[in-house]
């Protein structure tokens, strides 16, 4: 018996025969197809179906990842011969103060990429779903989802104008008599990180709303009716029914947005490039700087591996927590 059979459980069908028997030509009668060889063939067919997806996935995702892990063990400038340094690059990551700052910034971005959009998405989903079918809801849904459709580079350039010294935000502040509050937002050591974070919130909120909207449609309307019979208002309904029953959507939204926060690069690269000073530096920016500008491919690879592990762990934890019964 092969290992495969042990794993999948024995299921000898009547009339099963060994290959030797078949080879001897002892079977003449027509009879049902032997189950074991059928399963094997099904497995082969399944593999064949998987192949078109599996091949590119392995070539373009699994192998580069393994290669990155391999490169992280070298001191390499990207051009000349590398030298093997073992885990030294990982040691550098742990001790570098700039990297610690980057980790903090990424953590702060979770607030803007996950917490805020999920709250906003939830509220807007509740509002939109209560008014389902009325005029304008489709428009609202589309408008809120629109940022998700625009390429992040374009988003970054757009918001650079919004945040500029004489940009839309400052113009608006001046128009309502708050000219004293204006600032060059992306150049401010205090405001650059929140400013960039809010761009993220703007982008992700629409996605969260659509996720939650599809979730609310799954909830049985009778539950709401029952609650209304008991005299629950819209707020009570929202807190007691909608929020708890959207648990799976929370998990999905949280996973997607936490990944976006921790691996953020393009938005920050376009808007601040990590500045002013190091106040918006995130791991993605550092990986890019180290690998392409600084000629430190080994350290960059090590950082990329650590980031991948951290993100995977975060997503794993989120999924574990969300699976538990409420």
């Amino acid at each position: 018996m092969t290992t495969a059979d042990r794993l999948t459980g024995p299921a000898p069908a009547p009339g099963a025969q060994s290959p030797a028997e078949r080879a001897a030509g002892s079977t003449v009668r027509k009879r049902p197809r032997p189950a074991r060889s059928g399963r094997r063939r099904r497995r082969a067919v399944a593999l064949l179906y998987l192949l078109p997806a599996l091949l590119p996935y392995t070539l373009f995702a699994v192998l580069p990842l393994l290669h990155t892990a391999y490169l992280s063990l070298f001191d390499w400038d990207g051009v000349t011969l590398p030298s093997f340094v073992g885990l030294d690059n990982y040691g550098r990551i742990v001790t570098d103060p700039q990297l610690r700052a980057a980790a903090w910034h990424a953590g702060a971005l979770i607030l803007f990429f996950s917490v805020l959009p999920i709250c906003l998405g939830l509220v807007s989903a509740a509002i939109v779903s209560r008014r389902a079918g009325r005029r304008g809801t489709t428009l609202v849904r589309t408008v809120l989802f629109l940022p998700q459709v625009i390429p992040l580079v374009a988003v970054g350039i757009l918001w650079r104008w919004v945040y500029a010294e004489d940009g839309t935000l400052n113009q608006a502040l001046r128009a309502i008599g708050l000219g004293g509050l204006t600032d060059a937002w992306l150049g401010s050591f205090t405001w650059a990180l929140p400013a960039v974070g809010l761009i993220g919130s703007w982008v992700v909120s629409g996605l969260c709303m659509v996720l939650f909207l599809s979730g609310t449609q799954r909830i049985d309307p009778e539950i709401y009716e029952a609650a209304r019979m008991d005299g629950a208002g819209p707020v009570r309904e929202f807190m007691a029914i909608t929020v708890p029953l959207l648990r799976p959507e929370f998990a999905v939204a949280l996973s997607i947005t936490v990944i976006a926060a921790l691996s953020s690069f393009d938005l920050i690269y376009i808007t601040t490039g990590g500045g002013p000073g190091n106040s918006t530096v995130v791991p993605g920016i550092l990986i890019y700087r180290l690998a392409f500008g600084g000629g430190a491919v080994g350290v960059a690879s090590a950082l990329a591996i650590v980031l991948t592990v951290v993100i995977s762990l975060a997503v794993l934890v989120i999924n574990r927590l969300s699976r538990e019964a409420p």
Partner: protein, 446 residues
């Protein structure tokens, strides 16, 4: 017990992934990094003759957003009908980050614009030593600033070692000013010393003007800082550090004076307010639109400034520390280097030599660069004429110095931007600012 579908599919998946992975790994024997960097990098016996009956194709990779490179290519093709020159243009930022990979590829371009960060290609033997061609053509007499593309075998030090290319168009920095406003405010230009320049800033500020238009969102304060360093530092100290010489340092009293001057300019409000939130390009655009009085930038900005301010645009060289001192400023230029993988080195050398000629000088000057053959540049009027005159003084005083961030270390561009933002944001002292630059330098040159 029925077979569990999940274990079946997981097993199938793992087996398949393993099989595909193993196959792919065997297929790529090149996974060892740097395995293919054993090209020859000497040109061997050379001649200045180009095969005239042979069809030759050259590829040029560059980040030159002026009309110079395409103009030179077109003129060269006209002169040599048998040589086809293809151009691969990439925007500056992307070029910096991708050129090392491009040059490592088997299909590397024959000629590439040399930029900071490409030093690594020298120890990788991916650049051709063109010294022999230089001797045959006599480039030492034709091109100024060849030391900026002369490197040691480890690529870490500039100014000594082998020649890897030529500078076809040179750039340098100086002070632009708004003539109308200078007149209105009664400012006498050009100032004879740095102190006099600062006195003009004080006057402009008192009249409610932005004295010095600048943008530091992407580190544009490096322009004033570089020219201040040029004025204060001795050329020897400046070049040793900018070219990445072993044990060079920027933690010097003169450099501190330069950094303190810049910080004072920001703190006193001479510089564009909230300078960390303005990009360098936007600063040039604002100045060209009539904002502020002075702007320290390079000759590449001359065209934009002239277009915006017209007759009202003026230029003078950055003044020295003491009156009558030699004029020193910062500059770089478009340098071309050659791939060691090029199969047509003779034709490439002919192109490099062509850029030094009188015909090329007209094209180079029209694009706003200073041509190697300064005498052959057609004389220009207005702002471009003023800039050209300034260049002649710089050449006479041998005052062209390298940017400190270009070849001191591969990461210095980012580090300088970061440190300048900290300095302008009042987060560090001049002393700590210089120490930050020095740390980056020593991390690379250890």
């Amino acid at each position: 017990m029925s077979p569990s579908p999940s274990s079946l599919s997981r097993r199938t998946f793992l087996t398949a992934t393993g099989a595909v992975g193993a196959a792919a790994l065997t297929a790529c024997s090149d996974l060892t990094p740097g395995a293919s960097s054993s090209e020859k990098s000497s040109s061997g016996p050379v001649s200045t003759a180009i095969p005239a009956d042979e069809k030759i194709t050259l590829v040029v990779a560059d980040a030159d957003d002026t009309t110079m490179t395409p103009g030179l290519i077109a003129a060269f093709r006209k002169k040599h009908p048998n040589i086809t020159v293809k151009r691969n243009y990439t925007g500056w930022d992307d070029y910096l980050k991708s050129i090392n990979t491009t040059m490592s590829a088997d299909s590397a371009p024959d000629i590439a614009q040399f930029t900071s960060g490409m030093q690594n290609l020298v120890p990788g033997r991916l650049l051709l030593k063109v010294g022999e061609y230089g001797k045959a053509y006599g480039w030492a007499e034709k091109f100024p600033g060849l030391d900026q593309i002369t490197l040691t075998p480890d690529g870490k030090t500039v100014g000594t070692g082998d020649l890897y290319g030529v500078g076809a168009g040179l750039s340098f920095e100086g002070v632009y000013y708004n003539k109308a406003k200078a007149q209105k405010l009664g400012l006498t230009v050009p100032p004879a010393t740095l102190d006099e320049l600062e006195a003009l800033f004080v006057k402009a500020k008192a009249a409610g003007e932005t004295a010095l238009v600048a943008g530091n969102l992407d580190g544009g304060l490096n322009h004033p800082f570089n020219v201040l360093l040029s004025a204060y530092l001795t050329p020897k100290d400046r070049e040793a550090w900018a070219y990445g010489h072993q044990s060079a340092t920027i933690v010097l009293p003169e450099a501190e004076k330069a950094a303190e001057t810049l910080k004072r300019w920001v703190d006193e409000g001479y510089v564009t307010p909230k300078v960390n939130g303005v990009s360098d390009n936007d600063a040039t655009a604002a100045f060209a639109k009539g904002e502020g009085v002075f702007r320290i930038s390079g000759n590449w900005a001359a065209a934009a400034v002239a277009e915006g301010l017209g007759e009202g645009a003026g230029y003078f060289n950055m003044p020295p520390v003491t009156s009558g001192g030699k004029v020193r400023t910062t500059g770089a230029g478009v340098y071309y280097c050659v791939s060691s993988k090029s199969k047509n080195a003779a034709a490439v050398a002919a192109f490099l030599d062509f850029t030094a000629g009188a015909e090329a000088a007209a094209i180079t000057a029209k694009a706003g660069f200073m041509a190697p053959d300064a005498g052959a540049m057609p004389s220009q009027s207005g702002l471009l004429g003023d800039v050209q005159q300034g260049w002649q003084t710089v050449v006479k005083d041998a005052g062209l110095q390298p940017f400190i961030q270009n070849s001191s270390s591969p990461t210095m561009g980012d580090t300088l931007t970061t440190q300048l933002q900290l300095l302008a944001g009042d987060k560090v002292t001049a002393e700590k600012f210089l120490a930050g630059l020095q740390t980056d330098f020593e991390n690379y040159h250890k």
